[in-house]
Symmetry: C2
Amino acid sequence: MSANSRLTIAAHALAWIGLYQRQGHEVATSEQIATSANTNPVVIRRLLGELRRAGLVESRRGAGAGWSLARELESMTLLDVYEAVEPGPLFAMHRTTPDQECVVGHGIQPAMQGIYEGIEETLRQELARVTLENVLRDVLAAPR
Amino acid sequence: MSANSRLTIAAHALAWIGLYQRQGHEVATSEQIATSANTNPVVIRRLLGELRRAGLVESRRGAGAGWSLARELESMTLLDVYEAVEPGPLFAMHRTTPDQECVVGHGIQPAMQGIYEGIEETLRQELARVTLENVLRDVLAAPR
DNA sequence: TCTGTCGTAACAATTAACGTTGCGACTGCC
DNA sequence: GGCAGTCGCAACGTTAATTGTTACGACAGA
């Protein structure tokens, strides 16, 4: 698990844009964010593109182009970000269909499916309790 | 996320061994389990090896060799299995250190660390609520 | 028209999980 | 004592997802 920093980078980008806008700037560029996150601008553009599809950010093209928040940080939760950037379920089933002739092979997938759905629902509730405003506050509270 | 069926396969194997033992057999072989899970015996042996290190199963070598439960299914939870087979944390940080000169780059990792720890603790509690006995019961309850 | 940035495709690099083969080690049974 | 069945484990190939990189057209303000 977790070769996966998409949620972290997305939160980083949103916090960066939010802070930058509070400092009076209109838009933030993918290059600025990429420098802060120490990665490539295209990686940031890809992630922000998914956040735009989810209605969390907007982008402007042409000269003076860049990214801005579509909503206040208070109204965005980690769940919004998670659902925007994480494609699949948390736990995966077998990659190949188990032996349906076997009692266990036959019943294991529906069984685990039901269990996993409950767990993921709880995870979602936890993610929904954290707003990006919370994240930014924690970021600024870090000792230097 | 979730290129990861380790927890599912491990639960499958434990349920299989548990049911097999209830049918009066002493030990189960990795080949039997692999047939049920539709995978390779070595994959099963690797997983069960981790479960053995966690004290959930035992293995016997030589003739009449195989695997058996070290504890009752009622006393095993998905958390025990999860901790035995999942190495890292659920969410990862940046793969490269963010720009420490930037306020956000400097504070983002401690901020996310704290948030993630709380969420993973909740996940652990959820996993701890499901025993392997629950899993086996759900497996046997599946319609055929 | 020029310039800076997004949008997106294409491909390489990296990483983790999964699959497969091979072979030595072990132990009950003949 | 030898045989047969299975584990233990190393080695390597395969697959898939993410991340990193390069390239280039599209867009819009100056």
